[in-house]
């Protein structure tokens, strides 16, 4: 996963090209939203009218879809994204304790980004790493059997990189 600092700022021409690449697919909206987020790190607001035009939808419909799905961000994330699992298997291995440690250390809440813009922590509900719980994806890389200490180390390492 490229870090957000290398992501381009909003570029309507790039957005239109991405939309045009997928517009002919049946049910194209989700694949396009994923592609836009991959490019810009979030789904920028000015993309909404472009999507509505290209797919013959109302802006309200496009907005409704973007806000329905937890994945699509309205604002850019930090340079590093930690997706921490909060589901039952990770709970059974003290995942919530590990998570609250990290959040306290970073001084943020779920979904928040550190003031220096380096780390965003997002909740996820199951990474399929339930037999190596608790688990997280840090910049897309999996980590299991986390402890407060190991998670802090992984995040610090990503931050320094």
């Amino acid at each position: 996963m490229p870090s957000a600092s290398h992501r381009p700022t909003w570029d309507p021409f790039r957005a239109e090209a991405i939309i045009a690449d997928h517009a002919q697919m049946p049910g194209a909206l989700l694949p396009i939203l994923h592609a836009l987020q991959e490019e810009f790190g979030h789904v920028p607001e000015p993309a909404v009218p472009l999507l509505a035009d290209a797919l013959n939808l109302s802006r309200a419909e496009v907005h409704g879809v973007i806000t329905f799905y937890h994945d699509f961000r309205h604002d850019p994330a930090g340079r590093h994204v930690v997706k921490l699992c909060r589901a039952e298997a990770c709970q059974s291995m003290k995942g919530e304790h590990t998570a609250s440690h990290l959040l306290r250390r970073l001084g943020i809440d779920w979904g928040g980004t550190t003031p220096d813009g380096s780390v965003t922590v997002e909740p996820v509900y199951c990474l399929g790493l339930c037999a190596t719980a608790p688990a997280a994806l840090v910049d897309g890389e999996p980590h299991g059997r986390l402890t407060p200490e190991s998670l802090a180390g992984i995040v610090e390492e990503a931050r320094r990189a």
Partner: protein, 523 residues
């Protein structure tokens, strides 16, 4: 080394994401650099996982005596392994011998997961050498009606949780006339404690492609979609690569295997909405909409994706089809008990010593799974609760460990096997907090279409919160029961309809956890 072999020694190391999560990549690096320094030629083949996750990273070395396994290997073990001559199967404390002889695998019946962890997931040569495409060739020979009959006779039921007979679903779509039909694979494996779909996508993706192709032939559908999860980036990469390889070699597209039959397959990824695992919400999402549940009827088999007749099956159901076609309905149906035929990949997870994927015939008891196969908790404390079937499944206390793993037996005890997840908790768990979480999760993930789920879940979390605070506990427990009844009978789909299972099972089996503050206040 005086016995230097001429050809490189082959090693098999998983790149399943659970192996990566415990450091498989660092093990690969350590072995590669050590071998290079020694001047020993080796080839490392990356596989899926065999599903014994406490042994990851599992390293297997090909020797004349078979594939000798070592595990769990950490990077710091690597120099010692080389010193012990592990490349020739040498003795070492981590040596496990041949995995085929390992009791955890020997006790299993691997039909759906026969290849997982053994083959290179993207090698069609490996796939065909281990029986791949035998099912599809047989399917082409016998034709659509006989395929449907075979699947029906096998007794295969939907492995997503509902347990609906797969053959009946296929027959409905086969009998419906339409210009375009679809096969949709539900790989939106959102239940905590489950990873079977993920393991197939990472370890045996061609099995799913073959199963979907057979489904297409059976019902006359020329297009398929796999709907996976954004939480599975590694599985998605492997699955996409397998689809590209199948197209490249004429196993997808027009004229599959020279049969004249067309089957196209597209891969899509969800966006973090649990409810999209519900089949009609999944179809809405595939159409590019909010993942809101549809009222049934019409059934997807009549009016599914883009309004066309659609077979929508769980990934495990579809990945099990090839072996049924290859070996016959009776072969599969011979396993199991009662109306639960064949095998189930049970996923043992959470606070458990031996967690992983255990495929076995229906009928094994829950106690055998947790205490025997799983070997108790990872923390070494007593088991307090086991949640079966994901976030919508009931919590079972050890008192009910005699329950056989079977759709009907679980239903009789107000539980469900769902997609096969078994999550173990030790005695430190607060069951009132788990009940509150079940309601909170439903509130977060509710699609919002029906009121019992949308509002009931939020009110439910509030009521449990009050109980936990010791406020009017008796009255609030009555209210909670009532609210759960409304959700159970009034919700459109299983999200609102089944959230009462974990909640009420927690109340029923662990009343003391709901009366802690109450009891403390009375003293």
């Amino acid at each position: 080394m005086n016995t230097a072999p001429i050809s490189p020694i082959r090693l098999f190391i998983p790149q399943d994401v659970a192996a990566l999560a415990v450091g498989a990549e660092r093990v690969v690096k350590a072995i590669t650099s050590h071998a290079a320094a020694d001047g020993t030629p080796i080839t490392i083949i990356r596989t899926g996982s065999r599903g014994l996750f406490w042994l990851e990273t599992l390293v297997e070395v090909e020797t004349p005596a078979g594939r000798i396994a070592y595990g769990p290997v950490n990077p710091h073990d690597v120099p010692g392994l080389f010193n012990a001559g592990f490349l020739l199967g040498g003795a070492h404390p981590l040596r496990l011998g041949r995995m085929e002889d390992h009791p955890w695998l020997k006790g299993q019946t691997r039909l759906t997961f026969a290849r997982c962890g053994i083959v290179d997931p993207l090698s069609l040569a490996d796939y065909e050498a281990t029986g791949g495409y035998k099912g599809l060739r047989h399917a082409l020979a016998i034709g659509p009606a006989a395929i449907v009959e075979t699947v029906t006779k096998s007794g295969l039921r939907g492995r997503g949780g509902a347990g609906f007979p797969t053959g009946v679903k296929w027959k409905t779509v086969a009998d419906t006339k339409a210009p375009q039909k679809y096969i949709v694979c539900n790989a939106d494996e959102g239940d905590s404690g489950t990873f079977a779909d993920r393991m197939i996508m990472e370890g045996d993706p061609f099995g799913l492609i073959e199963g979907m192709s057979i489904a297409g032939i059976a019902v006359g559908a020329t297009k398929g979609y796999i709907y996976s999860r954004s939480e599975y980036p590694h599985a998605n990469r492997t699955m996409r690569a397998a689809i590209a390889e199948a197209y490249r070699t004429g196993r997808l597209g027009a004229d599959i295997l020279g049969s004249g039959v067309t089957f196209d397959l597209e891969f899509r990824v969800g966006a973090g909405a649990y409810v999209c695992g519900e089949e009609t919400a999944l179809l809405e999402s595939l159409e590019g909409k909010r993942g809101q549940v549809r009222a049934k009827p019409p059934l997807p088999a009549h009016k599914g994706l883009f309004g066309q007749p659609t077979v929508i099956n769980n990934l495990i159901s579809l990945a099990t089809v090839p072996v049924i076609l290859a070996e016959g309905a009776a072969y599969y149906a011979d396993f199991g008990m009662g109306r639960s035929r064949g095998t189930m990949p049970i996923q043992i997870a959470g606070n458990v010593r031996h967690g992983g994927l255990y495929e076995t015939a229906f009928g094994v008891t829950l106690g055998e799974i947790v205490e025997g196969i799983g070997d108790g908790t990872a923390t070494g404390r007593p088991v307090k609760a086991v949640q079966c079937g994901g976030p919508l499944g009931a919590y079972f206390p050890p008192m009910l460990f005699d329950t056989p793993y079977d759709y009907e037996a679980f239903a009789q005890r107000d539980g469900l096997i769902g997609h096969g997840g078994v999550v173990v908790f030790d005695d430190s768990v607060d069951m009132a907090a788990q009940a509150r979480f079940a309601m909170e999760f439903c509130a977060i993930e509710s699609c919002g279409k029906c009121t019992p789920c949308r509002i009931g879940s939020t009110r439910g979390a509030e009521v449990v919160e009050k109980i936990m605070a010791g406020r009017e506990v008796d009255a609030n427990l009555v209210l909670l029961e009532d609210l759960c009844a409304t959700m159970k009978f009034g919700s459109l789909c299983a999200l609102g309809g089944f959230t009462p299972y974990p909640v009420l099972s927690a109340v029923r089996h662990y009343p003391e956890d709901f009366r802690r503050r109450h009891a403390a206040a009375a003293e």
